[in-house]
């Protein structure tokens, strides 16, 4: 495999043929914010939070192949602003009430908002959808008011579990994650599925029953460090 180098924010990093910008950055300990991308899943490039500038053009770092000598911008004020807008859009598209959400502290959307300094009042209108809760399954509940359509559960179920419990249906603003049955109980979803594991759903949409608040608020994943810190720590190793 051909090895080459390219730069992210002026820092030269190593890459191999076939790697995306994000894969190379992760290895080099440079964190590029992302929500729909998750290690072990197919890249989708839909949330657009990983937008970077490669040779001046906007591309999604999770899908864009790294290229020799390429100059990539990642942490610029302008990209930070674009990413903040995207995260705000996701907040406003659904119903995200952090103080009452079980995922608070473990939520990647919330953590991303902190990382991107989403501290001022937001300017977008709230779409306030009204989406059915699904508590039919003995071990799992779904609150799609918190879904950000990242599709990680879809890819995990399809590609890793080989099941196809979830899938996108509809178009445009009505596009959403649907189920292969009337409700979750009617599907073959199991607690042991990768799609149901806590790491796959970035928000509080897929909820594992009877384990809520086992870890108190204040001792949760993102209470300990900014999202992406694990990747950034690689750089100092």
């Amino acid at each position: 495999m051909t090895a080459f180098r390219f730069t992210i924010d002026g820092v030269e990093i190593d890459a191999r043929e076939g790697q995306t910008i994000m894969e190379a950055a992760d290895e080099a300990g440079i964190y590029i914010p992302r929500l729909c991308d998750h290690e072990g899943l197919r890249h989708q490039g839909s949330c657009r939070v990983c937008t970077v500038k490669a040779g001046g053009r906007s591309v999604s770092a999770c899908t864009q192949p790294a290229a020799a000598g390429q100059e990539v911008e990642n942490e610029t004020p302008h990209l930070g602003k674009l990413r903040r807008d995207l995260v705000e859009m996701l907040f406003h598209e659904g119903n995200h009430l952090c103080p009452i959400c079980e995922a608070s502290g473990n939520c990647e959307l919330q953590a991303m908002a902190y990382r991107l300094d989403m501290t001022a009042p937001t300017k977008f209108p709230y779409l306030e959808p009204c989406r059915a809760l699904d508590a039919s399954h003995p071990d799992i509940a779904l609150d799609r008011n918190r879904c950000i359509s990242c599709g990680r559960c879809i890819r995990a179920s399809q590609d890793v579990d080989g099941k196809g419990v979830f899938g996108y249906v509809g178009r445009g603003i009505h596009r959403h994650v649907g189920l292969s049955a009337e409700d979750l109980a009617g599907t073959d979803a199991k607690l042991a599925d990768f799609a149901i594991s806590p790491e796959v759903c970035p928000v509080g949409c897929i909820i594992r029953k009877r384990v809520g608040f086992a870890t108190p608020i204040g001792e949760r994943e993102f209470d300990k460090g900014l999202i992406g810190h694990e990747i950034e720590e690689r750089r100092h190793e």
């Binding site: 490039g45 602003k81 059915a132 249906v169 178009r171 292969s180």
Partner: protein, 648 residues
């Protein structure tokens, strides 16, 4: 006292999960089904299986399968989806993903005949309101409804490519143009009396040739024929010349002509062909993009009607140039009335040895074409989405890179060109690169078809060399009253009188051909709001900025129209637009804010006249009444303060 507090179930269902209905049906207990229903189910299963079998149970033909099921049963039932999933080896949710994506497919039972009124802004300005009323009264149903006896459904649909003879409508598989309220009432009466949509066109519809049917339904309105496409054309002269050339020589000729893609983006055609030709692959494909969906564009309609042989000839030449043996014509669902016509042309060419094995006797030159019908999705005009749609997937653009020329249809190198581009290519092979490149101007060679509609005396098709000014075109079209012209449709540019001297070419006003004229009587903000609602309707929803951002833009324009905008909202529009443009995944999101940005630029007073400073820092758009409405209904209480008519 609020009498009808909705139960919890109703609340949770609101505005979400269109599939809920059929899932309920899917999971109905079998003991509740009587023998007749069982029988129906069995026969439906067999019929759906037969439809799937007709496509070899190939999941890539999902769109064709679903179209046929829809046509036969007037919906895609849960039962049908289960059968299709089983036979094609997909999960049921994957089948629902496709069925729920396209506007012409339905997950709830529709009427045997669907009447789709074209809801484009031109139709609205041409009296759509009165026509809608006439249909609603005549059929006894509202838009969105289906008649009780299951005979009719009435819907709105975006631009169906008939802006030059608006208002227009699709009735089943036929189209009706230049509607008036009287005509609409007569149509409704005739349909109710049991006439078929085809009867409305002609009582001897069955005796007419497909071309005659198309001509009977739709005027071509060719106002100016140029030298390349709409003037006299020697049949298959280009293809015959192409046989004497090697594939690289064909590509050299097309490249030397300066031909650029006519869909709007303007990529050099010869270069595209060369990239596909030089890619190592076992198979290659040539696809014609006849999914002309940009509101205000109808040039391909005329080419498909009057120059279908030239189009197929161009595709055949492209196939020879890149080494493809299979091609697809992707025809937008709205042009279903042209389906038989195109199929007849393909059959004729097969019979004459112009398609199929050893074309014109040339050993090893094998190429055939299938027609792929779309099903109501503007996004499928984007080449990646078009390929997805041909593959039986929801019409979602593909991740780029890889580009279609390296990995396109089914993963093979694919040339996707606009219908007009293929026609040009055939003519270039006939008359030579130099002949073609001598027309037009620097960087934009040859002629271009312009679809002119709106407030002008002579709406229709104008074939002109590139480089004419907008003013020149407006004079030809008799648009003396033009105050604003939308060049390139809503994803293009809206210009005002002071810039009518701008030129129609790639280096100035690039366009796929739509030129929509608005007189001073039209409300710019109404137009902009319409186009934003169009983009919201047509966004595929894949990426965040396009899915969500366009809804915010639409709402913001609504604020301006309601007079509730404050001065900061102008910056908000610009700011949000630039985020959408910079972060969207495909051309739809990269251009959807254009109606706003180009009118902000060229008609700034329209906006500034509508803003007023906010009083007391209160958000004017916040409506406490609607905000507390849900809670109020749950609590079964009304407000003493806000409900003026409150009585204990």
């Amino acid at each position: 006292m609020v009498a009808d507090a909705p139960n919890g179930n109703d609340i949770t269902r609101t505005g979400f999960d269109p599939g809920a209905e059929w899932f309920a049906a899917l999971h109905e207990e079998p003991n509740g089904i009587d023998s007749l229903t069982l029988q129906t189910h069995t026969s439906e299963t067999a019929a759906v299986a037969e439809i799937c079998g007709g496509f070899d149970n190939d999941p890539h033909r999902m769109l064709d399968i679903l179209r046929q099921v829809q046509e036969r049963y007037c919906w895609i039932s849960p039962q049908a989806m289960r059968v299709i999933a089983d036979l094609t080896g997909l999960t049921p949710i994957a089948v629902e993903g496709v069925a729920s994506f396209y506007s012409f497919l339905s997950l709830s039972l529709r009427g045997r005949v669907t009447i789709r009124l074209c809801d484009d802004i031109i139709d609205r300005f041409s009296g759509l309101g009165a026509i809608t009323e006439a249909f609603e009264t005549g059929l006894g149903i509202k838009v969105g409804g289906t008649s009780a006896n299951g005979a009719f459904s009435l819907e709105f649909t975006p631009c169906i490519g008939l802006c030059d003879q608006a208002p227009a409508a699709m009735v089943g598989d036929v189209v009706l143009t230049a509607l008036t309220p009287q005509k609409a009432s007569r149509i409704a009466e005739a349909l109710k009396a049991g006439q078929s949509p085809e009867d409305l066109v002609s009582q001897r519809f069955g005796d007419l040739s497909p071309h005659e049917r198309a001509e009977r339904m739709v005027e071509n309105n060719i106002r100016h024929a140029g030298a390349v496409l709409l003037g006299p054309v020697a049949a298959d002269a280009g293809l015959r010349n192409g046989l004497d050339l090697s594939p690289p020589q064909i590509i050299d000729t097309v490249e030397a002509s300066g031909l650029r893609g006519c869909g709007g983006a303007g990529f050099t055609t010869g270069r595209k062909w060369r990239m596909a030709a030089t890619e190592q692959a076992e198979r290659r494909f040539v696809i014609c993009n006849a999914d002309e969906g940009e509101p205000g564009t109808f040039k391909d309609r005329v080419l498909l009607t009057e120059r279908p042989h030239l189009l197929i000839e161009g595709m055949t030449i492209a196939a020879r140039a890149v080494g493809a043996s299979q091609g697809i014509v992707y025809l937008r669902g709205e042009y279903v009335y042209l389906r038989d016509h195109i199929e007849a042309v393909l059959a004729d060419r097969r019979a004459r040895g112009l398609l199929g094995k050893a074309i014109l006797g040339a050993d090893g030159f094998d190429f055939d074409i299938r027609l792929q019908m779309g099903a109501g999705a503007y996004i499928c005009g984007e080449e990646g989405a078009l390929i997805s749609s041909c593959e039986g997937l929801p019409g979602e653009p593909k991740t780029r890179p890889p580009y279609p020329v390296t990995r396109g249809y089914l993963g093979f190198p694919t040339v996707v060109n606009n219908a007009e581009t293929f026609c040009h290519a055939a003519r270039i092979l006939d008359r030579g690169a130099r002949w073609f490149s001598a027309m037009g101007c620097q960087g934009s060679h040859g002629t271009k078809l312009f679809s002119v509609s709106g407030d002008c005396l002579n709406p229709g098709i104008y074939e002109l060399p590139y480089g004419q000014t907008v003013q020149e075109l407006l004079e030809m079209a008799g648009a003396e009253d033009a105050a604003a012209v939308l060049v390139g449709g809503p994803s293009g540019t809206m210009i005002g009188r002071d810039t009518f001297h701008r030129r129609l070419c790639f280096d100035d006003l690039a366009t796929g051909g739509a030129v929509v004229v608005f007189s001073h009587r039209r409300n710019i903000l109404e137009i902009v709001e319409y186009y934003m609602s169009f983009f919201v309707h047509e966004s595929c929803g894949y990426c965040t900025p396009c899915r969500v951002g366009n809804v915010f833009l639409q709402k913001a324009i609504g604020k301006f129209r309601d007079g509730k905008a404050n001065p900061g909202d102008i910056d908000y529009l610009r700011d949000l637009s630039s985020t959408i443009i910079e972060t969207s995944r495909c051309g739809l999101g990269m251009t959807s804010p254009n109606p706003i940005l180009s009118t902000l630029e060229n008609f700034p007073l329209v906006y500034s006249a509508m803003v007023k400073p906010t009083r007391d820092r209160i958000r004017d758009t916040f409506d406490i009444q609607s905000a507390i409405d849900g809670a109020r209904k749950l609590a079964r209480r009304r407000s003493h303060i806000f409900d003026r008519d409150f009585t204990e």
